[in-house]
Symmetry: C2
């Protein structure tokens, strides 16, 4: 396994804090092995490093109280939402206390007139959208998992809709957070834009629990579009599919989604979901707008795709057919796992400037083949972000080593192309060496900010910082 | 005059630094009274506090060298672009050195395929758009002045297009900055999205030169739309105009611009520009998209406006007619000044949640009348951002006092409505007390970051921080 560094433990402080938390929170403070293990990472190839205890918080004030107890004893705090992050974010390499906010799951306020809402951090994206549907509103950010809004803010998550609606960075208006000293602050007003001082909202979004713990999130919302049209289109090569995406973006076509599945993924979903898609690279699309607008977009896309040899293109506004079309994408993760039963899927997450997409994807396919790895690719292609998921037999040390070499090569390659090692998953434990390769001296500035706000390094230690 | 606090001067350090700069930069280092005064503020009611010298930098390395000299002698640094900021941002309350980057004005790279470009900080927005036009691209952010891109990033500027294209926060992909110790860092890759560590780009955008000095900006660009349609519509009351804007935003109509001029501004531009607009509140609009798309948007707007008593509505796709329509908006500043010749126009800059826009604008008109002030309003209404420009006879101490009371009332009112004291101008010297009212303890977090990155407080001291 990789990056399994354990940090020094403050045994005395941990013991003291655990005693106080037990006393104050009773049954809501748990130290059983199973629950502790559930609150650390098992979904990646990074080893599980459980916290010493898990406390289920019910309010901002409780979070503040817990933080103050941990701060007084210099005990690590690991914020926990749904545990669906992918880079060891909820591991506890120095032990400490997992603050589970999943029971802080109320939608506090929906301001339909302002297209915004205020939620507790444990609300999941699906629960929020269920809550909003009756008001004709939706929240567009959709990482694969039904993640918590707090966790999504913490990792600067995005998903399939980011090409149209942006990422968490663009859709969080304001945060309430508890600082490492227990102080509660609000980062911004509810105004749609502001030049009032440093952008603490954006500093906290993507800080992965290393600067503060998020206790409320104010989000931008979108009106459910008048019309939604979905489409799929097959391509002779992955290069042709990527070149089509590049043309779409350069044209300025406002696609709501444009997802790439390489030939291996298409084969996998055909087998897994009993579909009969042509086993060549596929683009899945969605257009949002007025009836006339989506028809026009769909037509424009068709014309662009044709230039690159796209075939089998068809768009539909039927919700049922749309869901069927997108089934291939939704099933992709499980379908890929089924390619090599018993193997671990390790998701990479590079993002390159759109003009480099075809080059990067083609080279990634080739590199995986060269190393004898099974690494199917799905991508949020319109952002230049794609995930090669390496299927690894973790009992085969040589294969693990080749997978490590592949991940390292891919991250380096993306950085060399002017891109990033992580489009949406974050740095966590796993990508710390690449952060330095990507941003150099800027990481020292990050470290200075971290040290200023959290001098005892209690907030999610061992994450982001090298 | 207001907020004219002078800070303690480090005479010895300033003397030493000036000597070295003179030696190294020769004629590019200036200490004449006139040039020093030009590099401090005269456009607001905040008094002019000139730096001790002005150095014209030609490269990132030179900026770094200058910063190192100033850092070694603990001498204040005031970054300077075009000097069009409005809250005393370029004043030197503790003296020091103005680093003028206006001669760093090259467009370094345009990546048409990625819809981005890399520019030096002294490039102005109009120069950039002239440079881009041949490639079918444009940069949408348009503060009133022909500001420098570096300055626009530093104040988190926006303008009339923000309702569609966002602010500088949304359109800066990456920055190269010189830190207070002279180190040069790049804040992000060129990828369209990233989760790689703390969002230093957004931290620097809006930091008003208090954390670092911007030496390169990588910007998102837009394709020039296939079709542009412009329109104007008059309303019986300012409330009706604002309610129309609220309906447009709530409907999700993707207007590119929706600007409000109150009745006093319309009267002023009629007189100044020899127009014959009905002297009632006016909305000016622009729609971007395909031919069919802009026609559909224009029609939808017309239907919404009618519900609120809009009249004289007409849309046009002719560039000539469009320019004529927008003349009223472009002339508004000079037209307003002509309402009271010899007076100073002091621009306020509140921004409220869109549902509070009508309430806020009506109350602002009433408050100005109550205080016997002339304070015409123009607004980037789609963002909830509006500017009441108070025309003040600076020789009338009582009027100045009433204007101060008005500004204070307006900022407090916006904050009470869930908004901000500054939508786009920034805090500078003028709005420091309101920043604390707006964000409370969050300002302590800002101060901790400032102190961590700039422990000697040499970067634009006396700005933002209370």
């Amino acid at each position: 396994m990789v990056q399994a560094v354990a940090l020094a433990r403050n045994e005395e402080g941990i013991g003291a804090a655990l005693g106080i938390l037990k006393q104050q929170f009773g049954e809501r403070f748990q130290t059983g092995a199973s629950i502790r293990e559930q609150h650390a990472h098992t979904t990646t190839w990074i080893i599980n490093q459980p916290p010493d205890g898990v406390v289920f918080a019910h309010s901002t004030q409780e979070v503040s109280d817990i933080v103050k107890i941990c701060a007084a004893h210099k005990v690590p705090i690991i914020p926990f939402g749904t545990g669906t992050s992918l880079e060891g974010h909820v591991n506890a390499p120095a032990g400490g206390v997992s603050i589970d906010v999943s029971q802080m799951a109320s939608v506090l306020e929906v301001n339909a007139g302002d297209l915004d809402c205020r939620v507790q951090p444990g609300v999941t994206r699906m629960a929020l959208n269920t809550h909003l549907r009756d008001q004709g509103l939706f929240f567009p950010i959709d990482p694969g998992a039904d993640a918590s809004i707090g966790g999504m803010a913490a990792t600067r998550a995005s998903g399939t809709n980011a090409v149209r609606y942006g990422t968490m960075k663009d859709n969080v208006l304001s945060l309430e957070v508890v600082m490492p000293n227990g102080e509660i602050i609000r980062t911004a007003s509810r105004a749609r834009k502001s030049s009032a001082g440093y952008d603490l909202t954006r500093l906290m979004v993507g800080s992965e629990g290393t600067l503060a713990i998020i206790t409320e999130v104010t989000l931008r919302l979108q009106g459910i579009p008048e019309a939604i049209s979905a489409a799929s289109c097959s391509f002779p090569t992955v290069e042709a599919a990527c070149e089509t995406v590049m043309a779409v973006i350069q044209y300025g076509l406002p696609v709501a989604r444009i997802e790439l599945l390489d030939a291996m993924v298409v084969k996998a979903v055909n087998s897994y979901s009993k579909l009969t898609l042509p086993e060549t690279p596929l683009l899945l699309l969605e257009f949002h707008g007025s009836d006339a607008g989506v028809a026009e977009q769909a037509e424009t896309f068709g014309a662009l795709a044709e230039e690159f040899g796209g075939n089998g293109y068809a768009a539909t506004t039927s919700a049922e057919e749309r869901n069927k079309l997108w089934q291939a994408r939704h099933d992709a993760y499980w379908a890929m796992l089924a390619l090599r039963p018993g193997c671990k899927a390790v998701a990479t997450d590079v993002c390159v400037p759109i003009s480099k997409l075809a080059e990067a994807v083609v080279a990634t396919n080739e590199k995986a083949a060269e190393l004898g790895l099974v690494a199917p690719i799905v991508g949020h292609a319109g952002d230049g972000n794609f995930h090669a998921s390496v299927l690894i037999d973790m009992d085969d040390a040589q294969e693990v080593a080749r997978a490590e070499a592949f991940v390292s090569w891919l991250n380096d390659r993306a950085i060399a192309l002017g891109g990033t090692c992580t489009g949406e998953h974050g740095i966590g434990q796993g990508k710390r060496p690449y952060l330095v390769k990507e941003l150099g001296g800027a990481v020292d500035v990050m470290a200075a900010i971290k040290h200023a706000l959290d001098p005892d390094d209690i907030m999610n230690p061992g994450k982001i910082m090298p």
